[in-house]
Symmetry: D2
Subunit: 506 residues, 4 copies
């Protein structure tokens, strides 16, 4: 079953390459066919309910309590094939989209090229992703390349209503709003798929819920579908399971494990978002603070680098000797959490593991210690252990709780232990651009691939395409790549246009 | 006249030590005594109208439009000697105060000592500062030391209403709310000073407006006043002018130029707030961005260090060869703004000068360039030059304007050229704690000084007190100071307890 | 043929994973059997003649011109089965060995364990490596584990005579001195192998010359040899060629590509040695210098990080878009060499490529520009193009040449374009310790492996052994590794003792 | 007496501004007039015997034991008015001078200007400084400006013999060699001063020994002398004492306390030389090392920044709360030496104090700990306490001693506790250039000053000249200074050409 059981699969960290998913015994096709609202709610992917913040949401103070499903709205062209919060927010949303366009140079470059050829002409894409300004740029790029799109949200909290409005105003069939119920969630997905006279031939998914829905409800649709592009760890894992079970009916592209995503999302994004997330929630001064970072994978490396640079004193915990030795060489004291827990001002988890910060640790922390999670869904801090009668919880700001011990000691818990970077900071558009471009290229590749190039399996993008995505992002930095001379290329045994790295390079 | 003319006196930068205030020709005592609301509005200090943001204000969504002056409120003890927005917000405000207390260890230490002696017993302090959680900690510390306090805001925008409520609930006579009119501003100050049966004997001022008001309205009060403690550059400048003109009636302490403030406020605060201010307003990714920082004084040094650490490529402009050479040795290309203006992603001014970024520069910037000011009031960027018919202004978020050129180019202007760190980021409580502690110690010193120690002049705190303030902040870092042995002290010719630096050390 | 043709195989850089060795057409067994001295000199591996410096060699001022081959020496125990420069230098060499022991904690730990068991009892190891203090620690560790050792140098310049003396004094059969002729080189190797009554059963090689000699001269010896441990890129490449050609007679361990070597040698070593190499040769000040680093692989990353940290302004050139994007995100301007060549103070090559710095570039450099190579043998800078009549070469210090243009312009060329870190700086013992430990463990593994575990092929150490090597080095940093709980290990699907990384992790 | 008593006056650190020289009770004029060699040896300034290394000296292997005083040498022009080691080394020395010229752009710029005017025409300068390549550039610049020069060494070890030869070859009257006896030292000085038919009218001194000699032996010479330029702390202190005692006969320029020297020498030089000094002596790897830096003045700041950047974990000790708080904000744990002494890999003193590292500390250090001094002459580490019978000293390399405890523990003591940066690393020429330029400008100023501008007192260079020196060094970095517009200058109340800083700025 694609149920709750198989959801603690996460990315962001090296530990996870080895995950064996031992607990996942139920199979996909055993899922009961009749499900009420309650059982539906159990089948939604966990990533669909992660809380999520964005700059734009700060401005969203609409107090209209009517459900979008109960409203009838039309855009200025009279089109009403969408379901969103409020079409009147379109102007504001459009501005957010335009801001995002400036940081997504590669997609804009693809649009320019599309003026000549339309590589997605005829494509009917059904998508299910976060509905944000960045997604809007992707969607409008796919359209510029020739595709028709229908879209739902992959997360019940993450929709930027203004952006959804801007898309609807431009006559995209969007079905999404911030704060959907779980019933709404599946209703929206169904509205994307189940249309008279329109049948999708491509899927773009983030988390696998859309794919799952079609498998469950409209398995025949796969006859016309040419492929799936999936971004998330969770969704990719589901696809590999399907493939293993011989049930994958179409080729699928695993965008999550492309080099550009791995190399850039984790290290560079976290380097920026750890500072942003901590500041926005706590206004803490970094200078001189003693910080423990649990885990020295890419995420931990990014957090450590940023905090050290801002004058914090950083300690690292690790289980893997190789990463541990890197932490040492990079100038961090490698400790066990117990050794420094009493003196820590901030504790950050980046392990991909569970219960890294236990109640015992929390009991020993000093007054005012800030605790947050940059690594894994919501398992790293044993938040459940704090839900006991003797402790008082006090919500002091959005995403900030004080947990108060009987002696008055307060621990500052951020985002209730969920991902700080999703909940409390924004993600740089530029980094999202890398992933979005990879998605668009994967779409083009799958849609145009000659019969037989791809089988019913899960594929990684070839290294060369990773390199192409990277090269499309260089002009943003006014960066000038050097070209190999013929003589040099021969000497190195490389093609002048790449690929420059072996396929196993990560 | 203490009018608008003499307001472009600023701190934050080395340039300014030489400011000669050439434009200030009007004299203090020429001020007309009868002023209407309009002329009042011209006499308010500029710092009183700088925009100002704080975390707490995000949560302030009260839509009550009634003026506090028209409301009758009482706290839970039945006390009504205050005028604030809404006494019901006291609980939330109290929480903010408690959070601040944790980052203001020195004041809390002073409170502990005050349990034995009350060095401010009998002190009647009238204060005029920003009304924030940090100020509340100061005010309640002064009270713990024995003082009675009445307080108004020094800025019409900066009051945290919840904090004012928390103070009022604790029976402090606070007269302040966010969004005062200028008439309100002076009315509040007057309510602090003009009370039956209570006359202040100490002044704590930030900007000089309170001092000015007493000079103008109640000059006789100075007979009982033992001294003034002033924090701001503007206020200190006013005091020096009074002193020069022979009109200063009481001793005054210049807290602004204490070592701890200069050494910590500028460098360390700006190192943190430049990142925070840019992120909160624009969500910009720092990695790989080309940034020009104009001015390499302490503020510029802080900005450059933070941005370099986060992966930006930083260029510096300077007029002073010594700071220029420091920039070179620190690894920054020293350029003229013209040379790099076309390639800049972000331009930050930190000079204390005027028109450092001109319309000509703005015309040549590339699309999407972010422009902001960390240095001086609002003079560094020639914002006025952008108010021309061919340019369109578009407010895209709070404190963020797009200025749009006829060809579609957009410049992202933050805080309309006012101080980014005041307008768009929070200031670390810990750094404010240093200044607040200095204020408290200056209060104690002036109030207890024997007759004759201080004349009617402006004084700097002795180096030893600076060192004492610093030492009170070390425990926060669990930092352990080394003590000189007798032999070492003799060898160095120093007293074991300091001062360790010459008085001219800055 | 193991001749000059197959020597441009190098490590140190990502480019090189793709090298296809297109030029290598001659086969091993076509080598003529009778070779005179001259042809011998052509067959020596290039790494054997790289120049090499070490701290100890500074003190080596012995002017004795007699060839060691013509001397008869005995150590204090009367043993004379060695051939070195001067047995009297043993005390000094012993001190250097003792200093090295302190930075090689893992080998010392192995020795302690060896007091109980002797995993190399019966092993007769013939070795051919650099003869340095670090090698001495390795050799004496192998002996402590039970092995008998005979050793020659893999490089005609790199022997520390004092260390060789210290080994000889301890009755190790060492045949090596600094400044061997090529005839000496092979004579020494032969003296290790060709002994009456003693036949090696293990080979430890660095560059493949020893292996080659046995293949050529004593192929029957392989019947008793259990395996080869090879460290260098060159030697590993030779082994893979043998394997491919079906001519490898025994199992071989490829130590060069172990994770610990790749992850630590390149990045961390170069981070330190680039500064050291530049200072020792030129005393250049780093602050404010404009430096171009060609190549942003691990070596380039290390160089860039160090120079940026010391206040240099660093530009990067790259051919690979992915590394290029990393350089951008890390805060370096990505340029073509041509664009910045005129303003560069220092140019450093780290590409693994050839002719990266051409005569044209050299012609355009400014007076005093320093040029050096951290990447590849001696191909990266086109030094040959500087050997023209109009240019004057002036040797100003050891390893430092001024190349003087007709107009008086001088370029400062270091180590004649050979590897700066080998020629002009020392390599941190600690990093060598990682490799040496891996060699020792590979020895133990091969020697004790049950029949059939290893075939006649080239093997990489399993990830688990990499992790073991790393863990042995953690105590040096007083670093404390965290252990997974049973629950966590189950959750992650990992064994509590590792391996923690997939085998493809690099 | 200018004897040993007054020698612990040092620079490099803020502590020292307060030194009161309590022990110096003897007066200058009480010095006995007849002194034998032994008493002479006691009167030499301590800085004259500090050990000193330079790159060039590595190549100096001349074994000629004849005293230069016993040789008769002539240069190629037949001139023999000098006394140096070996005139044949002139070519090598000339090359070193030419290398230095490239990093001393300001002096070279002065030479160019001197082609028109000769501001030192008629000047007869007698100098006493380190005789290094950098000094040669200064001396030849003074000559280019019109002066005649005679020169001796201010330190018995620091002369680069090759450079002295190059100067002699160019007919400069130099009297200096490496390894002078103390008698030689004074003899050389006397040879500079006591010449028939030539009498100096300007003094350039470093340490005050030359000035002292003239005071003692030829007091009448001061009638013709127009001024003294003194660089060292020691010499400046002597001058202030003379001035205080009313015995200073001519104006003197204190170059030591010029802004450019203070701001650049300490921070930037030490940032580079700490790494260089440690590497050249110990080849230690910095990554992951635990380092204690005692003192967080400018020197300590430079050391900490460099080591942190290279991956060391740095702890700081301080006595002054203000510097302590800076260390905290900069991200260093502030500790007492006792707390971390057991875990330290490296201990560095930068305090200006005495006995900062005591025998007790040394007893508790772990095996292999490196101890060195970057701060003060040779007082900071209590080296004397290590000269006890139970400890064994072993000289392992030049400037490196192992001190061995009875249990076998070894401490690695560098330069016997004297200054590491003088003894074991080179000082960047560029930074010396700043001081040398200041000396040259001070010379010009004093020599050309109209009667009465300077009295018989000690002067600091005006801020404007500091700024001029800085500006002469900017072209090296291709740095472009911004100029104030008229409007801006007026606004700031500054002259467009500076000075830009108040005189009290340091």
């Amino acid at each position: 079953v694609w149920g709750l059981n198989n959801l603690y699969i996460v990315n962001l960290n090296f530990y996870l390459y080895q995950i064996q998913f031992a607990d996942q015994k139920q199979e996909f096709n055993k899922r009961p066919t009749k499900i009420g609202r309650r059982s539906l709610s159990r089948s939604i992917s966990q990533s669909s309910t992660d809380s999520y913040s964005s700059a734009a949401s700060y401005t969203d103070s609409s107090d209209d309590e009517t459900s979008p499903r109960d409203k009838q709205q039309k855009n200025s062209k009279g089109n009403g094939d969408f379901c969103i919060k409020n079409i009147k927010q379109a102007d504001f949303g459009r501005r957010e989209v335009e801001i995002a366009e400036q940081e997504m140079p590669a997609l804009m470059a693809l649009r320019k090229r599309a003026q000549g050829e339309k590589p997605l002409a005829g494509a009917k894409i059904v998508g299910c992703t976060h509905i944000t300004a960045q997604t809007a740029v992707l969607m409008e790029t796919l359209a510029a390349l020739g595709a028709q799109c229908r879209w739902a949200a992959c997360n019940i909290y993450s929709t930027q209503n203004e952006v959804a409005a801007a898309l609807a105003e431009n006559s995209y069939s969007v079905f999404a709003w911030k704060g959907e119920s779980e019933d709404d969630f599946w209703w929206c997905i169904d509205r994307c798929v189940n249309v008279e006279g329109w049948q999708p031939n491509m899927i773009l998914d983030d988390g696998g819920d859309l794919t799952h829905w079609i498998y469950k409800k409209y398995p025949n649709m796969f006859k016309k579908i040419k492929g799936i592009v999936e971004e998330s760890v969770t969704g990719v894992h589901r696809l590999y399971q399907l493939s293993k079970a011989g049930k994958l009916c179409v080729p699928a592209m695993n965008v999550n494990d492309s080099v550009t995503k791995q190399k850039f999302d984790n290290l560079y994004c976290c380097r920026e978002s750890i500072l942003d997330g901590l500041k926005r929630t706590t206004d803490v001064m970094f200078g001189g603070k003693q910080v423990v970072v649990c885990g020295y994978g890419e995420v931990g490396k990014g957090c450590c680098a940023a905090l050290k640079a801002m004058g914090s004193i950083v300690y690292v915990t690790e289980i893997d000797p190789i990463c541990a030795l890197q932490a040492c060489m990079d100038g961090f004291r490698l400790v066990k959490l117990n050794e420094v827990i009493r003196q820590a001002d901030i504790v950050i988890t980046c392990t991909g593991n569970k219960n890294v910060v236990t109640r015992e640790h929390l009991d020993r922390m000093k007054n005012g210690c800030i605790v947050c999670n940059m690594g894994h869904s919501n398992t790293e801090i044993d938040v459940a252990s704090l839900r006991t009668p003797e402790l008082t919880w006090e919500r002091v700001r959005s995403q900030v709780d004080h947990v108060i011990w009987p002696d008055g000691k307060r621990i500052v818990l951020l985002a209730e232990g969920r991902l700080l970077n999703l909940s409390c900071s924004t993600v740089p558009t530029f980094v999202l651009s890398i992933t979005a471009t990879t998605q668009a290229l994967a779409m083009i590749e799958l849609y145009n691939a000659p019969e037989g190039r791809y089988k019913q399996d899960v594929y990684l993008l070839p290294k060369k395409m990773d390199e192409y995505v990277a090269s499309l992002h260089l002009p943003t930095f006014d960066a000038h790549l050097t070209e190999l001379s013929d003589e040099q290329a021969k000497y190195l045994g490389l093609n002048k246009n790449g690929p420059f790295k072996p396929n196993y390079y990560r």
